[in-house]
Amino acid sequence: MASNIQIRVQEADFDLGHEYKQLRDDNPSDGAIVTFVGLVRDINQQQVVTGLFLEHYPAMTEGALRGIVDLAKSKWPLGRVTVIHRVGQLDVSEQIVFVGVTSCHRKAAFDGAEFIMDYLKTQAPFWKKETTSEGDKWIQAKIEDQQKLEGWQ
């Protein structure tokens, strides 16, 4: 079912309506579609944020995302899955990441999308550097994200 999985790592923005159409068209057996979009917030840990730089490990990134999607598909009856992650320089309110999942079942679609985001947050090789009112700084990984991951095991 490899053709049902779309993974893209790109500088360009994406369009939710377009991605949703790709998940929905000619797919009459899946009754549930869940999408997640992550955006650049204007405030993080009490500091004003004016932008974000996203670095990644190009040779590894797509493979890591594909591994996460395969793992999700082994756990739930997912139909189509799209993951898009942007890299490079982003402004406040810009879209960072898209996860879209279809399934015959509502709970599988919710679980699959959340699982992919939780794994992506802790396993995919991306690093964020924020431009804040007090200068540039690398975002530190959150212990909660690691703990949330363990909830799936």
């Binding site: 992550g38 996203l54 670095e55 990644h56 490990y57 040779a59 590894m60 493979g63 890591a64 992650h85 960072i96 990441v97 985001m117 992506l120 947050k121 802790t122 396993q123 995919a124 090789p125 991306f126 690093w127 964020k128 550097k129 690398w138 975002i139 530190q140 990984a141 690691q146």
Partner: protein, 82 residues
């Protein structure tokens, strides 16, 4: 020869994107980490176990993972995408 890469904050702290390293007496990830830590105080500190993750040939790896000629080994801080 091993191809070594650094990413994120680690790359900035070490002031290098990466380097090459002879396999001499390096059998696994742990050996390589210790060898690199000998390069100075900042290396000692930044490559401390638990502070950096490691991937071998683009897959997350443990300290025990065996290394062979031509492997690509990447060290990086815990990831923060999404």
């Amino acid at each position: 020869m091993l191809n070594i890469l650094f990413f994120g904050q680690l790359k900035e702290r070490l002031q290098t994107h990466g380097m090459q390293q002879l396999l001499q007496e390096i059998y696994c990830v742990a050996d390589l980490r210790k060898r690199l830590q000998l390069k100075g105080d900042i290396w000692q500190e930044q490559l401390a176990l638990g502070k950096t993750l490691v991937a071998v040939n683009q897959k997350m790896a443990s300290e025990e993972e065996r290394l062979k000629d031509g492997d690509e080994i990447a060290f990086f801080p815990p990831v923060t995408g999404g």
